[in-house]
């Protein structure tokens, strides 16, 4: 299949990629752009470890063909969090509340937290749980992740 060229704003910087249109966004990020912070946990959109934001919306990058992401799209991955106020706030909250164990789900989990707090700075506990229901974690029992998001939200208001 003919390759496509796309220009995206990834973590605030313009990047150009050329690849087959059906190449997974996850592979473009990890293999072509060496952004290995985003993880592959299942490859079929069930675990959420590969969650990134495309134009502010959380998507599972293992199910997104690169050709489907239009020119000019803004993509935020875990590597870009430190460059944002909300990202740094969430990172500190995750650390302080003990939300991290093995860490493999965290790059996806924290992107879902970011997407939630960006559109809703005062989420209820149920809203937090719904917003992260697509991100599996096998270590924590989720308690401290919920607490971290609540804590970050409390700092926003």
């Amino acid at each position: 299949m003919k390759e496509v060229t796309r220009k995206w704003i990834i973590n605030g910087k313009e990047r150009q990629v050329t690849c087959p249109p059906l190449r997974r966004l996850l592979d473009v990020l990890r293999e072509d752009l060496h952004l290995t912070g985003t993880k592959e946990g299942c490859g079929e959109g069930e675990c959420g470890a590969c969650t990134v934001l495309v134009n502010g919306d959380p998507v599972v990058s293992c199910l997104i063909p690169a050709g489907q992401v239009p020119d000019g799209a803004e993509i935020l991955t875990v590597e870009g969090l430190e460059e944002t106020d909300l990202g740094r706030l969430l990172q500190e909250a995750y650390l302080e509340k003990g939300a991290v164990q093995c860490g493999f789900c965290i790059p996806g989990m924290i992107m879902s937290s970011y997407a939630l707090l960006q559109r809703n700075a005062t989420p209820t506990e149920l809203e937090i749980r719904e917003a992260h229901a697509g991100n599996l974690c096998r270590c924590t029992g989720y308690v401290k992740i919920v607490e971290a998001v609540q804590y970050a939200a409390s700092k926003l208001s």
């Binding site: 290995t36 650390l95 164990q101 093995c102 860490g103 493999f104 270590c139 924590t140």
Partner: protein, 760 residues
């Protein structure tokens, strides 16, 4: 300032929240080839031949077959019966028959498709249900891997003394560890014939030692490094040894770096799971509730090979009657073969299966003698001074029944019990509450720690910025549980220096002594104490040096990172720098000393089964929708004694995470074997709990330190997965008036059970 007892934030946390932590699949290995495993398509058969189709250009790839194995074609686990690559009788679907390495994964997969096998298929027995049906009719035809009994008193006399005798069978299914990072290893061949294996694992020395006879390498030619590990839970205990064998053989033959990273589907299909279990409890007791006889048949489905099933069985039988008094106990444990993927380690290691039966049976007995579940347990719960099934006298420091009493008080159990609907037909929603009380043995069984002789070391050295640093050297890994935060906390206190001076690099078998595998709830207790001892030794060494160098031979004391003698003070950094300048880097090593009072007979299973026990009690409250039979756990309350709590925040994380795995085991994670293969083999069908499924937890610790081993921790890793299933089944009976005897309990299985109840 003591570091132990404080909630120091996880020290590997910042790297993880920034995405900088490089797990094995994130690391760069330029020019690396990719490996695939070529597997048996049948569950049982005889391998007659192998063909490489000449239509494929084989010069582009490397194929490894059993003839390429330089040493024994055997995986050296406890039961040595499994070949690394099958060359004769195939015992399970998916058994590795060959390996292919190629420059790309696609090419390796394509090549694998051009390998065909002549196989004579043989009849197979694939599930524990078939095994138990056979056992009840004609046991002789079954293949038994191992057996272990525990005998206390006179079981027949115990039944004669009983007013009531109750018998019940309990089933538990497979259980997948479901670590979020799939299995993955890389092997790098050296020009001198050596091999480096790096990747996701719990036990670097298992890989480094067990593969030597297979690869026919001397110890110095096989080096193993752990990479950051994205969860393990037992799933990366023994399995990486197999995977290490595959990847090392491909690297040795191709003379190239070879990567073997499973995707989720392959990981669930072709890695070890928790052993399915069948147990039959026959118990006798008096009208006043005193238990007089406990007879348990505890059988496990080992899968196709013995591997480490004998140890899982040992831990299972040791937890099959625990926490209660009884003078007459007979436990008959066995592991049988099925032609399915070999079962292996998973957090709890036999104990969750055992306690599932025991704590269900306790409720049955309570009801039979018209006592409440808690009154019956309090009547029989051990107190310090009582003896266990193996004849071990429990020490004064054990919490035993106190966690039970505290849990009852904490959740107001009695009041909740009064609200239970007990199958009332006029209720729209059924409500029930259930209890379980349990213990988990800490560290290796019996005198295992004395025989193992765990060693750990501290290196005083300069870091990259030329500052003094104390490096922890042990083989115990960080896999999410917090070892690389908790162990430095313990070292800091042993040394009496600030935590900032202590670092914990990932283990590399070329650099670290063998502190043992990261298993058996032993890391904080055993390796922590060993490192504490090393810290004491380093403290003494530096005090002696400081005395001579800074204090004109007055005795110096190191406390809170400051050396002092009389009124003179010099800080830790200055002394350490002076020492390093004069003597260079130094290593102090320490070996764990087991309490010499521990006496254990490994043949008869009599004596002190564990150096210490952790104790737990949990109460489940749930509701059942009468229309859908959806079971909603409203709350789990629990109280736990894990000895001295080193880091309260991380310890609570262990409880919460372990409990959610137990929740999945009890209610969600159904996986069967159909035509030799798992019938739920991806995250679309193998359902682990999401954030929306997770119930609220209300947990607390009661600290009864293990006084023999400072700083006094006991095991924490496995305890939280032990007691939820029976509490769920007990709550379901209180809610719906029906006894569920197989986990997971699903709305479908509850519906079937209720329908049968109505019919009868």
């Amino acid at each position: 300032m003591a570091a132990v007892g404080t909630s120091v934030p996880r020290r590997d946390g910042r790297e993880k929240v920034t995405g900088r932590t490089a797990y094995i699949d994130d690391m760069s290995f330029p020019g690396a080839w990719h490996g695939v495993v070529v597997r048996s398509p049948v569950a049982h058969g005889r391998l007659k031949g192998r063909h490489l189709d000449p239509a494929f250009d084989w010069s582009q790839v490397v194929v490894v077959t059993p003839e390429d194995i330089p040493g024994e074609n055997l995986v050296h686990e406890i039961i040595k019966d499994m070949p690394l690559l099958c060359d004769d009788e195939i015992q399970y679907l998916g058994e590795p028959l060959a390996l292919v390495a190629a420059p790309t994964k696609d090419l390796a997969r394509e090549a694998a498709g051009y390998i065909t096998f002549d196989i004579e298929e043989l009849p197979s027995i694939q599930t524990l249900k078939e095994v138990i049906a056979q056992y009840k009719t004609d046991e002789g035809k079954l293949h038994k891997f191992c057996a272990q009994t525990i005998v206390k008193g006179d079981i027949e006399k115990g039944f004669e003394e009983a007013d009531y005798i109750i018998e019940q069978e309990y089933w538990a299914g497979h259980h997948e560890q479901a670590y979020l990072e799939p299995q993955g290893l890389v092997a790098v061949p050296g020009e001198d014939g050596s091999v480096l294996i790096e990747g996701s694992m719990q036990c670097p020395y298992f890989v480094a030692l067990e593969l030597l006879p297979t690869l026919n390498l001397p110890p110095e030619k096989l080096r193993v490094r752990q990479a950051p590990t994205g969860g393990a839970f037992g799933g990366k205990e023994e399995f990486p040894t197999w995977l290490g064998g595959y990847v090392a053989l491909m690297a040795m033959k191709s003379k190239r770096t070879v990567k073997l990273i499973y995707d989720r589907h392959e990981d669930i299909r072709y890695t070890t799971k928790r052993h399915p279990s069948w147990s039959r409890y026959k118990t006798g007791f008096k009208k006043d509730g005193a238990i007089t006889a406990v007879k348990v048949e505890f059988f496990l489905d080992g899968g196709a090979y013995g591997t480490l099933s004998s140890i899982v069985l040992a831990r299972g039988v040791l937890h099959a009657f625990i926490g209660y008094r009884c003078d007459n106990v007979f436990i008959d444990g066995r592991v049988y073969r099925t032609h399915s993927f070999p079962c292996g380690a998973f957090r709890g290691f036999g104990a969750p299966q055992a306690i599932w039966g025991l704590e269900s049976q306790m409720d049955l007995m309570a009801r039979a003698c018209d006592m409440t579940p808690h009154a019956f347990r309090l009547r029989n719960a051990v107190v310090p001074g009582d003896t266990t099934a193996t004849g071990q006298t429990l020490a004064e420091c054990e919490a035993c029944g106190t966690v039970l009493e505290r849990t009852l008080e904490k959740c107001d159990f009695e009041a909740k019990l009064a609200r239970c609907t007990r199958g009332a037909q006029d209720a729209d929603t059924w409500y029930g509450v259930g209890l379980a009380f349990f213990a988990h043995g800490s560290a290796f069984t019996g005198d295992g720690e004395a025989r193992f002789k765990a060693k750990a070391a501290l290196d005083l050295a300069l870091d990259d910025a030329e500052r003094p640093v104390v490096l922890i050297r042990c083989s115990s890994v960080e896999m999410g549980q917090g070892a690389h935060t908790v162990l430095p906390q313990i070292v800091a206190d042993g040394l009496c220096a600030d935590l900032r001076f202590v670092q914990n690099p990932l283990p590399d078998t070329a650099l670290v002594p063998n502190s043992g595998p990261t298993v058996a709830s032993r890391t904080t207790m055993i390796v922590g104490n060993t490192l504490y001892g090393a810290g004491r030794k380093l403290k003494a060494k530096l005090e002696a040096y400081a005395s001579a160098r800074f204090f004109e031979s007055q005795a110096a004391i190191l406390k809170d990172s400051v050396f002092s003698a009389g009124h003179d003070r010099v800080d830790f950094e200055e002394v350490a720098l002076a020492y390093l300048k004069e003597h260079g880097p130094v290593r102090v090593e320490h070996q764990y000393e087991l309490d010499p009072k521990i006496a254990w007979n490994q043949e008869t299973f009599e004596g002190d089964a564990y150096p210490s026990y952790s104790w737990g009690c949990n109460v489940v409250e749930l509701e059942i929708d009468r229309a859908t039979l959806q079971i909603e756990v409203k709350k789990v309350t629990g109280v736990f004694d894990v000895g001295r709590v080193i880091n309260p925040m991380l310890a609570m994380g262990q409880l919460e995470g372990g409990f959610l795995q137990a929740f999945g085991y009890a209610l969600l994670e159904r996986i069967g074997v159909r035509n030799g293969a798992y019938d739920a083999d991806r995250f679309q069908t193998y359902i682990i709990p999401t954030m929306l499924d997770a119930p609220p937890f209300d947990f607390e610790f009661m600290e009864y330190p293990y006084t023999f081993s400072p700083p006094g921790a006991k095991g924490i890793g496995e305890l939280p997965i032990d007691g939820l299933s029976p509490a769920v089944a007990n709550a379901i009976e209180m809610a719906a008036g029906i006894r569920m005897t197989e986990i997971p309990v699903t709305p479908e299985s509850l519906f079937e059970a209720l329908r049968k109840q109505v019919k009868s």
